[in-house]
Subunit: 211 residues, 2 copies
């Protein structure tokens, strides 16, 4: 198909498609004449993935490029690619809380990972993101909120088990990484939305009748 | 304190502080002379909250202003304010998947809320966000991933129970809404980070030895 049809099919404008090609997020179309290119189903799929990572995952373009590079590398061992793709999808924060707070928060993350027996590196992107959140809670005077951490870790285990069972049962080797990327980003969106719905329910049961 | 000290204490630059005051995110300082204002502990606290909502929550400025308005309104019933503040913290997506997909996804969200017996409005911000994620999964050819939904809903219930228990046991009436805002935004960050750590563990157990 021509670029106009690709645009109509995906709802992404022609200038945006050209921008993604220049930025390396979308492979160029196959040249059919000096100034005309042809696009296929793979381009439709890739464009949708880019939009999901951008609009729903809120990933910056550079992170999307890194994640797609991992998706396209068929030679890396599954576990390694999963780890690196998933770590690149952790948000990075512009500004970190004070160093004392961060050192203490990192220690709490290490302790949590050890206490849970998780085979995970607490100093990676995810551990660091958790430490930033814990340090920010302290700075904001809501450090007590960290007492929910164990309930959250239980919930995270439940979710991760479902994630991996899905991958193990449904996903062919060549699409494991794409599935992990889609599942990570859309899974986050699902989980936070479900948390809001479950909070509304719990809040209604706690405060709805009384007030 | 003067604006320079407020800036040093919080790590937010003087021009940015002035911008937040103009945008209504931070109350103006008390004028001590025609061109000098004085700021207090409440300004430090509010600035930190704005930065957490911005940097960690990724909320747009307009949403932060709405949320802070709810935080400052002491007359609204708790349950109502919680609902409206929490709903304003659901991300809105620029572009929605095709209408057919969305209609079907909205139906699935309604069915889920009904099956769980959740006292929550499936057509609100959170339900809509969940429907967008489900429709995007289908569009991307990963519709099967929605089978994790029940495990995610279990996890969300566990988390929401911990959230509400924390609020019920630790939080004074006048700070319930601020706690809900902080807990919602930082809780999301904690939960997605924990999900990554638990995924790393589950992935290592599933694939780490074999490959």
């Amino acid at each position: 198909m021509r670029i106009g049809e690709l645009s109509r099919t995906t709802g992404v404008s022609v200038p945006t498609i050209k921008f993604y090609v220049r930025e390396g997020l979308l492979p160029a179309g196959e040249l059919t004449s000096p100034n005309q290119a042809s696009y296929g189903e793979a381009h439709v799929q890739r464009l949708r993935l880019v939009r999901a990572l951008l609009d729903i995952g809120g990933l910056p373009l550079a992170a999307i490029r890194d994640v797609l590079t991992a998706v396209d590398d068929r030679d890396l061992p599954v576990h390694e690619v999963l780890g690196s793709a998933v770590n690149r999808m952790v948000p990075r924060y512009d500004r970190e809380p004070g160093d004392t707070g961060m050192a203490e928060a990192r220690k709490r993350v290490e302790d949590l990972v050890a206490a849970r027996g998780w085979r995970a590196h607490p100093g990676g992107g995810a551990g660091e993101a958790l430490a930033v959140a814990l340090a920010a809670l302290d700075e904001l005077g809501h450090g007590d909120f960290a007492e929910v951490l164990d309930a959250y870790a239980d919930a995270a285990e439940r979710v991760a088990r479902a994630d991996l069972e899905y991958v193990a049962h449904h996903v062919a080797r060549e699409s494991v990484v794409e599935s992990a990327v889609v599942g990570t980003v859309l899974g986050d969106a699902m989980l936070t939305a479900l948390r809001r719905l479950a909070q509304a329910d719990a809040s209604d049961r706690t405060y709805g009748d009384a007030l």
